[in-house]
C-alpha cells in the first residue's frame, strides 16, 4: 500500500483542486452558512402557538373569550386532543394546555421534540407574554409545568433553525459531495483514456478507488466542520462528527463510484444521478415533517443518515448513534464492493 496509495492520493488531490472541487465545496458551505445566519434568522413570527384553556383554569373569567379564536399567533382550541393534533400537523408550532391547579393554573407544554431547554424557555416566555397581553397582565402560573413531546426520537437537545437544518446539510451536502464529484473523476479518467494506462501498471483497483473516496472525505470534512463551527461554535463533539462523516461520506462516494463505473459518460449517467438523488432526498421531508415517515422512507439510507447526523451533533453518544453508523457502514461497504466489481469490469471494456 504505502507509496502507491500516496502517489495515487496526491494525483487525485491535485486533480480535485484543479477541477475546483475544493472551491465549489467552500462556496456551497459559505452560502448555506450565510443564508442560515443572516437571511433566515429564527423568529417567532412564523410560528404558531396553540392554547387550550380549560374551563375554570383561570381564577377569573375572561371577557369576550370564546374558545376557537385567534389573537396574534395564539390560537385557542377546544380540547387537549385537538391541540395535540394540530401541533402534530404543523412542524413550526407549539402548544400549551392550561388547566386548573390547586392554587395557580398548571401549564403543560406540547413540543415537537427537537427543542432544547433554552428554546423551551423561550417558548414558555412567548406563551406567557402572549397570554398576559391577552389577559391584560392577570396571569400567574406555577413554574414547574409538564411537557409533552410529540416526537421523542428527536432527542432533546438541538436549538435553533440552523440546528434543525444542519443535519440536513451535513448529509445532503457534506456526505453526498462525493456522490457526484467522484463520478465526475471517473468519467474524466475514462475520457482521457487513463484507465488503459492504469490497467497495464501494477496499480490496485481498490487503492485507485479508495484514494478518490478519501479526497471526497476531505471535502466533506471541510464542508461539515466549517459549517458547524461557523453556525454553532465549538459546542459539539468533533469525534462524533468525524466518525459520522467517515461513514456517511464513504457511503456517498461508493454510490458515486458505482455510477461512475457503470456508465461511460456523465451524460449517460445523468438520468440515474437525478433519479437516485430524488429518492435520497425523500427522507428530508420526513425529517422536516415527521408525521410523514412510512416504512419505505425509513429504509432509504439517507433517513438513517439524517438522524445519525443529528445524533452526532447532539453529542449524545448513545447506542442509537453507533447502531445508525454501523447500518450506514454496512450499506456503504456493500455498494463499494459492487462498485469495485463494476469498475474492474468496466476497465476491460472499450479498450
Amino acid at each position: 500500500m504505502g507509496k502507491r496509495f500516496y502517489a495515487t492520493l496526491k494525483k487525485d488531490m491535485k486533480i480535485a483542486w484543479r477541477e475546483y472541487f475544493f472551491h465549489v465545496t467552500l462556496i456551497t458551505a459559505a452560502i448555506f452558512c450565510l443564508v442560515l445566519k443572516f437571511i433566515v434568522p429564527y423568529t417567532f413570527e412564523n410560528i404558531s402557538f396553540f392554547i387550550y384553556l380549560e374551563e375554570g383554569a383561570l381564577p377569573f373569567s375572561v371577557e369576550g373569550f370564546d374558545s376557537e379564536f385567534t389573537s396574534g399567533n395564539l390560537t385557542f382550541v377546544d380540547s387537549r386532543e385537538e391541540l395535540v393534533d394540530r401541533v402534530g400537523k404543523k412542524p413550526e408550532s407549539y402548544g400549551a394546555v392550561i388547566s386548573k391547579g390547586d392554587e395557580y393554573p398548571e401549564i403543560e407544554l406540547v413540543l415537537q421534540g427537537y427543542e432544547n431547554n433554552k428554546f423551551r424557555n423561550l417558548i414558555e416566555l412567548q406563551i406567557e407574554r402572549g397570554l398576559s397581553e391577552f389577559l391584560k397582565g392577570n396571569f400567574f402560573y406555577k413554574s414547574d409545568y409538564q411537557v409533552k413531546i410529540l416526537n421523542p426520537q428527536y432527542g432533546s437537545n438541538p436549538i435553533s433553525y440552523s440546528d434543525i437544518m444542519l443535519p440536513l446539510f451535513i448529509v445532503m451536502e457534506s456526505s453526498f459531495i462525493g456522490y457526484f464529484l467522484i463520478a465526475v473523476l471517473l468519467f474524466m479518467e475514462k475520457e482521457q483514456r487513463m484507465h488503459t494506462a492504469f490497467l497495464v501498471s501494477p496499480g490496485r483497483t481498490v487503492e485507485h478507488l479508495l484514494s478518490k473516496a478519501l479526497v471526497m472525505l476531505v471535502l466533506g470534512l471541510i464542508s461539515a466542520f466549517g459549517t458547524v463551527i461557523f453556525l454553532r461554535g465549538f459546542d459539539f463533539n468533533p469525534l462524533y462528527l468525524l466518525m459520522f462523516l467517515i461513514v456517511s461520506s464513504f457511503f456517498g462516494s461508493s454510490l458515486g463510484l458505482l455510477i461512475g463505473s457503470f456508465f461511460d459518460s456523465l451524460s449517460k449517467s445523468m438520468l440515474w444521478v437525478m433519479a437516485s438523488m430524488a429518492v435520497l432526498v425523500i427522507p428530508v421531508i420526513s425529517y422536516v415533517y415527521p408525521p410523514f415517515s412510512p416504512l419505505w422512507v425509513k429504509v432509504i439510507p439517507t433517513y438513517t443518515m439524517i438522524y445519525a447526523a443529528g445524533e452526532a451533533l447532539l453529542d449524545s453518544g448513545g447506542t442509537v448513534f453507533y447502531r445508525y453508523l454501523s447500518l450506514i457502514l454496512m450499506e456503504g461497504l456493500g455498494i463499494f464492493v459492487l462498485a469495485h466489481i463494476f469498475f474492474k469490469r468496466a476497465l476491460l471494456r472499450k479498450n
Partner: protein, 283 residues
C-alpha cells in the same frame, strides 16, 4: 520472451480482428509488426498486455501466461499506446511521478526521463496544453519508467517531427542494447528496417510473413535495375527485372545500343514486398 500460439480475437463475434496468429520473440529482440490500418496489430498488443482478454489460443510474456496477470507481470512490462493518454490536469512531470509511484520495482528518475524525450521546457505545463507530439513523447517516456523487460510500443514515432523521432529511436535502440525485448508496431518502413531484428507482416488479422528485413527482401524482393538512356534527344528510363528472361534481354539490347546514361540497382523496399504479398499498401 513472448510466445503466442493460435491467438484469435473478435470484437463482434463475426469477424476475427486477430485470426489465429502464432509467433515467438526472443529475449533481447526487437520484433516489428507491420501492416495496413485495421490489420490487427494494436489488437494483438492489447491482448498481450492484458487490455483485452484472451478469447482463444495461448500467449506467454516474460515467462508468464497472459491471463489474469498480477502486479508482478505489470512491474516487468512497459506499454506505449497508439492514442496518447495522460491526465490533462497534471503537468507532464506530475504524470510521470504518479505513474512511477505505482511500481514496486526501481523506476527512472522522472526529471532525467522527461529530459531524455526533449520535454524539459514543458515539464511543468499541464498536459492538456501539450501538442499531440509532446503528449506522445510523454507517454513513450512513461512506458519505460520501470525499465521494462518487455516493452510494447504501438506506433511510437508516428506523427513526430524528424528530430524527435530520431531521439525516440535512439532511446529504443539503447534500451534494446541494455537487454529489453521490444515489440514495435509501426507503419514506417525505415524505422522497421533500422530497428527490427525480425518483422511480421500482418494483414486482415493474419501474419503473412515473418523474417529478418534482409531475408524478406531476398525472398520476396525481385532484383531490378533502372536504366536511363538517351533517344532522339530525350532521356527515357525503364525499370527492368533481372529475374525474367524478357528483362535480361532488354538490358542486353540497351547495353549494346550504347545509349545508356545511368544504371541503378533497385532494391525492393519492405513496402514493395508487402504490396506484392497482399496487394495492399502499408499505410
Amino acid at each position: 520472451m513472448i510466445k503466442v500460439y493460435n491467438l484469435k480475437y473478435s470484437y463482434d463475434k463475426k469477424k476475427n480482428a486477430v485470426d489465429n496468429i502464432s509467433f515467438h520473440v526472443e529475449k533481447g529482440e526487437v520484433f516489428g509488426f507491420l501492416g495496413p490500418n485495421g490489420a490487427g496489430k494494436s489488437t494483438t498488443q492489447k491482448i498481450l498486455t492484458g487490455l483485452l482478454p484472451v478469447q482463444d489460443g495461448e500467449a506467454f510474456v516474460a515467462g508468464m501466461k497472459v491471463k489474469g496477470q498480477k502486479s508482478e507481470f505489470f512491474n516487468r512490462i512497459g506499454v506505449s499506446f497508439e492514442i496518447a493518454n495522460a491526465y490533462d490536469k497534471l503537468t507532464g512531470f506530475e504524470n510521470l511521478k504518479y505513474y512511477a509511484g505505482l511500481f514496486d520495482v526501481e523506476t527512472f528518475d522522472c526529471l532525467e526521463l522527461i529530459k531524455s524525450v526533449g520535454l524539459e521546457d514543458v515539464k511543468d505545463m499541464r498536459v492538456g496544453n501539450y501538442s499531440k507530439g509532446m503528449k506522445q513523447r510523454l507517454i513513450f517516456a512513461r512506458s519505460m519508467i520501470n525499465y521494462p523487460e518487455v516493452w510494447f510500443l504501438d506506433e511510437p514515432v508516428t506523427g513526430l517531427d524528424p528530430s524527435s523521432s530520431r531521439d525516440i529511436l535512439d532511446i529504443i535502440r539503447k534500451r534494446n542494447e541494455e537487454g529489453a525485448t521490444i515489440l514495435l508496431t509501426t507503419h514506417n518502413m525505415a524505422v522497421a528496417e533500422e530497428l527490427c531484428h525480425r518483422i511480421a507482416f500482418m494483414n486482415e488479422g493474419k501474419i503473412i510473413a515473418v523474417d529478418t528485413p534482409r531475408n524478406l527482401r531476398l525472398k520476396y524482393g525481385e532484383k531490378r535495375v533502372r536504366i536511363e538512356y538517351g533517344e532522339n534527344g530525350n532521356i527515357l528510363s525503364e525499370d527492368l527485372s533481372l529475374e525474367s528472361e524478357e528483362g535480361r534481354k532488354r538490358i542486353n539490347d540497351l547495353v549494346s545500343s550504347g545509349k545508356i546514361e545511368t544504371i541503378h540497382s533497385e532494391e525492393a523496399t519492405l513496402e514493395d514486398i508487402f504490396i506484392e504479398l497482399t496487394g495492399r499498401r502499408l499505410v
